[in-house]
């Protein structure tokens, strides 16, 4: 049985400087790109965009970090894009779409669902696009991002169970820190989500 042709084209770009991954997401054959958590914009990164004839249309921030400001400032000199984030406090003059709660947004010819992750921080969001979920530094393969205390960690685990695990098992989890994973692998293998704990 032939597998269906994927609709999305996702290019991971790993920055050795920041040791994080930025994802370039576009509709297959499309020219508009969405960036998830850009951290390091250099010649190699721009070469990828030029090679695939992509224009940055949207930048999504899962969790605003101070180390993203250089990338955002560099990008705004080159592209006219909008920013989607859980906060307005970003070092860009581009329009910022501040998220408030769970929202569905039309973006680069596809629909994206923003899922708030309040236990991590008030401005933290996961982004669900078709069979992908971008988790930034909030949830990684086999572990969780930083939380203020054990109670917040328990709430984050509950949030992941309530919002991520109802998604189809084959959904790919693409964090900005560490390797990718699948929701089925996380649900099965991560000690955080086992019921007995």
């Amino acid at each position: 049985m032939a597998l269906p042709e994927p609709n999305l084209h996702v290019i991971p770009y790993f920055s050795p400087e920041s040791e994080t991954t930025t994802y370039i997401v576009s509709r297959r054959g499309g020219s508009l790109a969405m960036l998830i958590d850009p951290v390091h914009v250099n010649r190699d990164f721009l070469h990828i965009l030029i090679q695939h004839e992509l224009t940055v249309h949207t930048v999504c921030i899962t969790h605003p970090e101070s180390y993203m400001r250089h990338a955002l400032r560099t990008l705004q000199k080159i592209f006219d894009f909008r920013v989607i984030a859980g906060t307005m406090e970003l070092p860009v003059s581009n329009p910022v779409r501040q998220l408030s709660g769970e929202e569905t947004i039309d973006c680069c010819d596809f629909e994206m669902r923003a899922i708030p992750v309040l236990p991590h921080s008030r401005s933290s969001y996961l982004y669900h696009v078709e069979s992908l979920v971008f988790t930034g530094s909030i949830v990684h393969a086999g572990t969780l991002g930083d939380t203020a205390n054990a109670f917040s960690e328990a709430l984050l685990v509950a949030t992941v169970k309530d919002y991520l695990f109802p998604l189809p098992e084959g959904t790919l989890m693409l964090p900005s820190v560490g390797p990718p994973s699948t929701l089925k692998a996380e649900q099965t293998l991560s000690p955080y989500y086992r019921e007995e704990l």
């Binding site: 393969a141 790919l172 990718p180």
Partner: protein, 106 residues
């Protein structure tokens, strides 16, 4: 090969020598009598793997994760293990000879 998804599978008597499998998911896979010699497997997810008689010699495993893995008779000889995570894994007869294991996290 980029972004291989072989999670929760069984890999037995397979050779991946010199393959490029970075950004791939092998989480929960049972690896038996297999060889990943010289592979570039940076940023790979090996969380929860049960590996037995598996050879990762000369592999690049930067930023890869072996969290909660069960490793028995596994060779990581002359590997690049920068920022590779082995936390909560059990290791029996595992060799890290000539690898930069001091840059990995146990």
């Amino acid at each position: 090969m980029e972004c291989v998804f072989a999670d929760l599978a069984t890999v037995q008597e397979c050779r991946f020598d010199d393959a490029l499998v970075f950004e791939s998911v092998f989480a929960g896979t049972h690896l038996r009598d297999s060889a990943f010699i010289g592979v570039t497997a940076d940023q790979c997810n090996f969380n929860g793997v049960e590996a037995q008689n598996t050879d990762f010699s000369d592999a690049s495993l930067r930023q890869s994760r072996f969290l909660n893995a069960r490793l028995t008779a596994v060779s990581f000889i002359n590997c690049d293990l920068k920022n590779t995570l082995f936390q909560f894994s059990s290791r029996d007869q595992v060799s890290f000879k000539h690898s930069n294991y001091e840059e990995a996290c146990f």
